[in-house]
Symmetry: D2
Subunit: 101 residues, 4 copies
């Protein structure tokens, strides 16, 4: 089951600047070989369900080890059975509709 995920990881108890922790998760997605793309409010990640979920778990584990006392991740998980679709397909589809107007 292929999944398109969006994830925003929020560690707390580490001060206002959380970018070093977000960078750690980016590295985990990278090392897991998952397609990923950061935006202003999270990261789009795609791949096989078990691989993606293993990376999310490692993200929580590693951030706790790095000192985050409390972590909340906000996630969107999308699966579909009608056809294969990537993140790029989704964005392209909207762009086509905008040009068509």
């Amino acid at each position: 089951m292929y999944v398109l995920m969006d994830i925003m990881v929020s560690p707390s108890g580490v001060g206002v600047s959380i970018s070093p922790y977000v960078a750690m998760c980016q590295k985990i997605f990278e090392e897991a070989g998952l397609t990923h793309s950061m935006h202003g409010y999270g990261t789009n990640v795609e791949g096989e369900w078990d691989d993606v979920m293993a990376a999310v778990k490692r993200c929580h584990e590693d951030l706790h080890k790095a000192g985050a006392v409390r972590i909340i991740s906000h996630m969107k998980l999308g699966t579909r059975t009608d056809r294969m679709q990537t993140m790029d397909d989704k964005v392209s589809s909207v762009h086509e509709k905008m040009i068509a107007k």
Copy 2:
């Protein structure tokens, strides 16, 4: 790693009424032996990380089998290392602050 989750499962391609599908997920959480509590915009679920994630996966798999062409789940996943906390603890904590004022 104990996790407090909030999940809202949105199947599409099945018409406007999604309550039968939400009910299927409730049953999955129940059968998995996880503490869970439904509210107007999702379900609070708590338990060990792997057990909770296995239930979420089964939820997507079963809803696809039941005819949902596309599913998006919106989730919050909270873990902490300082102390054990349940969903009830979280709600109680806010109520105490409200009474104190």
Copy 3:
């Protein structure tokens, strides 16, 4: 336009315990005369769009005044044109499907 909202307000720069801040928002929803119900990961709030949004804005303003340097609110906003529906209706609808099985 009637809206069913779910909101989780996360102040940062105020330590790990955020319950006093969550309690402040509860009081704002109460004073605004909005139907609201807290759960383990947020609060369901319902009412006219403008009233609900005014309360959310006041929530951010008051928490900043109370010392929160940074606030992120995670919200779900649902509107529909086919029929009037309350939060209680949504939960009841799922419960009926569970009993029917």
Copy 4:
């Protein structure tokens, strides 16, 4: 009060393909003169609180007029008092941490 928002608009009762509706919202953000950037799971939008919220409301109103029976928007709203920050600043901050490692 300046706000950094992420929004994912999900109309239902309009079939599986929602891209024409997402394109309508993009146009609304554009016409409102708000800085916005689409990604695979939503759109980052930034501006003054009242301008951003007016655009979100117009988005729900216009999509209902266009035939969407039911709409759920998932939003993140971030405000801060310590310093001005744009979406680009947020992404740059993480990139710097990744290079530093």
